[in-house]
């Protein structure tokens, strides 16, 4: 079996634990659901909403500059589906949460 396997001792992280953003990005799925017997739509969670909004904001900014090559990545296309629907939903959630949506996307 795999008991004999050993990780190479190399740790690429420069000392210390991994950056929180890197951990969260991996352990939180792309805003789908908490699994198992417990079902929660993560999009209903303010903190995650903010995080996803940041990701979308950054993707938008990159797109404005003509950089959108990762959009062809099938893994990103799968999952949460229609980005504009997601964005509309985020706006409504932000409004409901009293977060004043920053203006970076207000022109869209």
């Amino acid at each position: 079996m795999t008991q004999g396997d050993r990780l190479p001792d190399v740790r690429y992280r420069s000392g210390g634990p991994a950056q929180l953003a890197d951990v969260l990005e991996r352990v939180l799925d792309k805003g789908i659901v908490v699994a198992g017997d417990i079902r929660i739509n993560l999009l209903d969670i303010e903190l995650l909403t903010v995080r996803i909004r940041l990701l979308i904001a950054s993707a938008d900014k990159a797109k404005e500059m003509g950089i959108d090559w990762w959009e062809g990545d099938p893994f990103l296309k799968r999952g949460s589906g229609d980005g504009s629907a997601l964005e509309g939903r985020l706006r409504r959630l932000e409004a409901a949460a009293g977060l004043d949506g920053e203006d970076e996307r207000s022109e869209r």
């Binding site: 008991q3 990780l7 929180l20 991996r26 017997d37 417990i38 990701l55 950054s58």
Partner: protein, 256 residues
């Protein structure tokens, strides 16, 4: 330090799936011991958590609590990294919670073949992350222009430099991802993190995840090669890991 007493009402938190021959080790969330729930050839890596903390009602609240989220995410990650150091893991995302041990067994037996297949696919593999940052175009010339003509020339130079930087940005990240993907078995390009997440002023233009054999040094070599190629143009690379292969577990396998 003595072990915390079992919670009055328990739920089963699943970190991921390993081979049934794995020995559980250490503690997980809330310093409770990590256990194995085997079913056939595969086993869930679990620990008992308080049902009131991880129930639907309070979980919503907890996930909004930044310090709770950070602590739980780290405990989840640490538990999987400890397992990854010794064996192959199919990592689950945060908060896969079952009401009973029997439900964990039911999940395993329902998804047994898919989980066993994925364990076999991931055998001896780890995930590495590579991020690339671009320092941006050169700063504008500091001294005052001496004439209108010089001013206009300078503006033109700046415009050309900005266009060149934009062209370079749209090309180097994809070129980097292609070079890295060629050194990996599977590759995913995730959306770059904004500075609020990355904590760096330089713009992130590549946020890739790469599945490699744990003893394969080719990805690190590819990063070094890219560094010598694009470094002089203001690009820096950051290699992270080894990570449990989160980016290479299809969502349909993990019980969602």
């Amino acid at each position: 330090m003595s072990e915390p007493a079992p919670p009055p009402s328990a739920a089963w938190y699943v970190y991921g799936v390993v081979s049934a021959t794995t020995q559980p080790e250490g503690t997980g969330i809330g310093a409770r011991p990590v256990e194995l729930v085997p079913e056939g050839d595969v086993a869930a890596l679990v620990s008992v958590v308080p049902a009131d903390e991880f129930g639907e009602a309070s979980l919503l609240e907890r996930l909004n609590d930044r310090s709770w989220l950070e602590r739980t995410a780290r405990e989840h990650e640490d538990t999987l990294e400890r397992a990854l150091a010794r064996t192959t893991v199919v990592p689950f995302r945060l908060c896969t919670v079952y009401e009973s041990r029997e439900h964990v067994v039911e999940f395993l037996s329902a998804h047994g073949p898919a989980l066993a297949g994925l364990l076999q696919r991931l055998e001896g593999r780890i995930e590495l992350g590579v991020k690339a940052y671009f320092a941006g175009a050169a700063a504008p010339e500091p001294d005052e222009p001496q004439s209108g003509r010089e001013y206009l020339l300078r503006r033109q130079r700046e415009r050309e430099a900005a266009e060149e930087a934009a062209r370079f940005k749209s090309e180097f990240a994809q070129a980097s991802h292609e070079v890295l993907a060629a050194a990996a078995e599977e590759a995913r390009a995730n959306p770059p993190q904004p500075p609020e997440l990355s904590g760096r002023a330089d713009e992130m233009l590549l946020n890739g995840a790469y599945l490699v054999r744990r003893d394969d040094g080719r990805l690190a070599e590819a990063v070094a090669e890219l560094e010598s190629r694009f470094g002089p143009r203001g690009v820096t690379y950051e290699l992270t890991g080894p990570w449990p292969p989160y980016n290479f577990v299809p969502p349909e396998v993990v019980g969602t």
